[in-house]
């Protein structure tokens, strides 16, 4: 085969992959994720994770590592299982009676589904920020102080004050609220409330922060501030974010995972996923050919 023919054959192979009809039918149960699911230095490691809501098989044999000090974005159409997968990472699905999780999820070598494990400290180690800001109906100060107080992270009022200031500063909110800490958290704007929730999560000194569409209820300016914050938080925390905004996933994450009907279809560097995805389903979803 000549050099030219070799290149053409190679290009044909890539083209055929791109043009395959995989998007029109469900994936097989033994489908293998495209891309490297494992990383060298994982903070969390998920192996053969399955989630059932009653009879519905919502997550299907998914493996995924979450690297330290990285942001991983989980994307996919509604109902693909990305939020379900995220909620497995701090056992939030335990609160749903019909939900059954199998497989193994480790946080720093500890199996978080170990029956003897207490979920309360787990949820401090793996904090969560939700779609809609949900501050407690208490003062700004109390919103932050509540967690450290119940987890015994501050021995004195002075220490607690320090934790509150540090958490609000890390969340980029200190300058905006330092003169009204006694006012209700619910009185803040939507964007400020969401950053307050992030500060509340940070206050208990987590290792991992899970974010489930944290900007979907925010305006573009508040969204930009939260995205900026996510980038800064990456220095100290590991972050997993579920988002419906492709641009947000591209902006804030270093790795991206694409889910489809419970399968982790493709995972890879965010730049690679958004410039040269390898699976037809990923390509079709992010380019808006289906969703």
């Amino acid at each position: 085969m000549t050099t030219a023919e070799t290149v053409i054959a190679d290009a044909d192979l890539v083209g055929a992959k791109v043009r395959s009809k995989a998007g029109s039918r469900p994936l097989d149960n033994d489908f293998k994720t495209i891309g490297e699911v494992r990383v060298n230095d994982p903070r969390m490691s998920c192996t053969d994770v399955n989630v059932f809501y009653g009879d519905k098989h919502a997550i299907k044999h998914d493996d995924l590592d979450i690297a330290q000090n990285q942001v991983i974005a989980m994307i996919g159409p509604s109902g693909c299982g990305k939020s379900t997968f995220l909620r497995c990472l701090n056992r939030m699905n335990d609160t749903i009676d019909i939900c059954n999780v199998t497989g193994e999820i480790r946080l720093d070598e500890v199996d978080i589904y170990d029956r003897k494990l207490d979920v309360v400290p787990l949820r401090a180690q793996v904090g969560m920020v939700f779609q809609k800001p949900n501050p407690f109906p208490k003062s700004i100060y109390e919103n932050i102080a509540y967690g450290p107080r119940i987890h015994g992270l501050a021995a004195s009022r002075a220490e607690l004050d320090e934790v509150v200031e540090r958490s609000l500063a890390k969340a980029g909110l200190w300058e905006e609220v330092k003169d009204r800490l006694d006012q209700p958290g619910t009185g803040l704007s939507g964007g400020q409330q969401q950053r307050l929730c992030i500060a509340r999560t940070i206050a208990v000194d987590p290792e991992v922060i899970l974010m489930d569409e944290p900007c979907s209820a925010l305006d573009p300016i508040a969204t930009a501030k939260v995205e900026e914050l996510i980038d800064e938080l990456r220095e100290n925390y590991t972050i997993a974010i579920v988002t419906h905004s492709m641009q947000q996933a591209a902006r804030v994450s270093q790795r991206t995972a694409y889910f489809h009907l419970g399968h982790l279809v493709e995972v890879g560097d965010t730049t690679q996923i958004f410039t040269n995805p390898r699976h037809k389903l990923t390509e079709d979803y992010i380019t808006g050919r289906f969703g």
Binding site: V7, G15, T275, P277, T287, R289
Partner: protein
């Protein structure tokens, strides 16, 4: 199957405005390409026959190319600003944008050839029928063919054709080197040939550059379809990449 609006039937987006804007940009690039092919052919005729009328037409018609270049920039900016394309769409838009740059450079080379033809008309070289003008005509054929094929590769997103164009550029380079060797002999024969030999060399060099730009367009098509950036890959090691 490519549709009238420039999109492929199986590849339509949910958002039809994106298809419309992408089809418009693609159409602009192909229209610009066709006009530039005509410009190159006319510039070659002007140079090989010292035809000042054709040379001035090339220079005059360049305005329309500049207009299309500006329209293309606007269409490109609109696609980024409104639609933020990703993946294959992003690569195709990048390829079109790079093609606009290459086409604009090609149009510039055509004008340069027309300038040379105009200058030659002023001093009327005594060796008008010499073999070097035949060389201009001879090198034009593969250069224009490369350009037309690279445009077809964009139009059809045809990676096989793009790879062939990338390989065929070598043939044009060999023709150019042969022409330069022949020109050198005229310099050795008579120093009075220096002026027209320099002008003719400039003209032929322009044609060689046109081939290089056509090759660049083709290499970008390979990137667009396969995701592999082969712009700076040696032609011999293209397969290995």
């Amino acid at each position: 199957m490519v549709q009238e609006d420039g999109t492929k039937a199986v590849d339509r987006h949910i958002l039809s405005r994106f298809d419309g804007d992408l089809g418009y940009f693609r159409g602009l690039v192909l229209d610009m390409g066709q006009r530039i092919v005509a410009q190159v052919v006319l510039a070659s005729e002007a140079l090989s026959t010292c035809d000042v009328v054709k040379a001035r037409k090339v220079i005059h018609d360049h305005r329309r190319i500049r207009d299309l270049d500006m329209d293309a920039l606007e269409a490109n900016a609109r696609l980024y600003a409104i639609h933020q394309p990703v993946a294959r769409d992003l690569r195709f838009v990048l390829t079109l944008a790079r093609a606009v740059y290459d086409l604009e450079r090609i149009a510039g080379e055509a004008v340069r050839m027309a300038d040379v033809a105009e200058a030659m008309y002023e001093y009327q070289p005594s060796v008008r029928d010499c073999v070097i003008f035949e060389d201009v005509r001879r090198i034009t054929v593969p250069a224009v063919a490369l350009l037309e094929r690279s445009l077809k590769a964009i139009a059809d997103e045809d990676v096989q054709l793009a790879v062939q164009v990338a390989f065929d550029c070598k043939e044009l380079n060999e023709l150019f080197e042969g022409a330069v060797r022949r020109l050198a002999t005229y310099l050795m024969e008579d120093p009075r040939n220096i002026r027209w030999v320099i002008d003719a060399t400039l003209g032929i060099k322009s044609m060689e550059r046109i081939g290089d730009h056509a090759c660049s367009i083709a290499r970008n098509v390979i990137y667009s379809v396969t995701g592999k950036d082969v712009r700076h890959v040696n032609i011999a090691s293209l397969a290995a990449s």
